[in-house]
Symmetry: D2
């Protein structure tokens, strides 16, 4: 079998985007990456401040409503179709509901050869990065650091607390067949 | 019939992105937008400087190679699948080969109700915007301004030379059913 | 006399940044640009959400507190010093208090040869651009469009409602000596 | 004495910007940050591709010409004036010529109480971050990692190879009086 999809799951500011860029650099073939940040960018701006879309709670909690969910479901169908049409795809995601999120995504990717990757980062380090980046809502990193991995099963896990994105990407790349 | 896809075609710096954001703001339902700039962002960075991917000529000309084309084909299949799964999608594109580009996209969107929108802008105005934006390769705006519309058939056309993005979006929105 | 400083004043989304980039492109010598957006970027992020710094009201109104004012005063002294040290400087500003803002800046620039430029844009067009840009607080454009010009005296005025940034920059450049 | 200026020197992708943002977050008073990236942004775009301005060599080497130097000199005079006018300033810099760069800056900051900070990062880690960031010229990180520290004397040094930006900022903050 050939890996068709790499799913990279981790909390906000855990280092997913950097790992994804490095993966595309170290993997010899052409990979397309799409993530939840791209979906948010693709949606109308008004959805980011309403109950039907996405609401950021004061403590870094993220709640998503029915309009976001509906868009996300169609978006995921589309990404799966890209992979079925022959593209190799990296999906950069935040499993807000841990295992349930994984099962939903697994169903959408049925029939595809998926490599499941967990990106861990200790909450304090992730919270520090959130401040260092300067363009993030403070609190999300700590709120998501552990929750997004609850009950999730991975083929490979990396920890960015003390390891750089490129090194993590190389470790993941060894599992891509 | 209900409009499922809006294709917005225009040259670099013609104002497509602004119109797309305004469309998402003025249309009452949730629309997802994806464009060629998103595809470029989704691909490995190395593809932007090689013959197999995308090469920018000195005079603002853009040439695309087989790896870019293959990725673009799968990408388009995915976007069509999003629309078939119930999402309303705005595709923001640059028809580098005019009519041929449109026919290729039309085939990928077969069975969907598509609104074809042309975004025109006189070459000098677009070239001025290119300088004003500060993050664009100089020359692309002028090189593409007319070429991308060659032989293309539209349901509605707007001209951003003297009309703002919001006003153009409102004119387009009247054709969305 | 030789123009040492160009002050470009206009409301949010009136097109100042684009004009400033075009000015730097069309003027034959090297100009440095610094604006209020750079100051905001230079300050601690926490100042953007507190009474001592900057508060954005629900209707697009901007109020600034003592910590912002103190930083701004020193910042302006620094920019004036750059010009006195031989740099040609474009200051991109928003005169929240119209004439009072201008007099404060005029005092800081004492002894320098300043070209005062007003960038006007009709409120509806500016509000449309605000939506088109996608990264702005909605309401600021309309709230500031006229207020920032109250009692201000200019050497040259441009209107971006129907004229591109490059053309405006060329009109301004004729007044630079 | 009270620290008036913090100079943060390190190679490209060593983590200076993140440390600077964290410094502004952890220091109780208001600090203004300005760096060489801001200067580059402030200059006309054409200076980034010409001998008189900045030229990027194929191997990540950066050469600066007379127009850049002249602008930089006036820019630095201005930043010093901000500090003399009462602002606390973080200068984020890349000492392309090591000790000579430091002496030039030291002269411009004469009379001010300056904390000199070195940000080290092993070349491989910095090169990995360069790929992870996705918007940098590849090669600069490795080319600058050690060179920028040659002969430079610091009050405090941090190493971001295995330590986060926030932790580094806290270590630096202890030296701010």
């Amino acid at each position: 079998m050939t890996t068709q999809v790499i799913v990279v799951n981790g909390g906000s500011s855990s280092g997913k985007s950097g790992i994804t860029r490095c993966l595309k650099a170290v993997l010899p073939r052409t990979w397309i990456s799409l993530g939840v940040d791209d979906l948010i960018e693709a949606l109308p701006a008004r959805l980011m401040h309403c109950d039907a879309g996405v609401v950021l709670g004061g403590n870094g909690e993220v709640r998503v409503g029915p309009d976001f969910r509906a868009a996300e479901a169609a978006w995921t169908v589309g990404i799966a179709a890209m992979a079925r049409a022959g593209a190799r795809v990296v999906i950069d995601d935040v499993f807000l509901h841990g295992r349930d999120s994984q099962e939903r995504l697994r169903a959408a990717l049925a029939g595809l050869d998926v490599l499941w990757v967990g990106v861990r980062c200790d909450p304090e380090t992730a919270a520090g990065r959130e401040i260092a980046r300067g363009d993030r809502v403070i609190g999300m990193a700590a709120a998501q650091a552990e929750k997004v991995h609850k009950g999730v099963r991975y083929d490979v896990e990396v920890d960015t607390s003390h390891t750089g994105a490129l090194e993590c990407a190389r470790a993941i790349a060894k599992h891509v067949v």
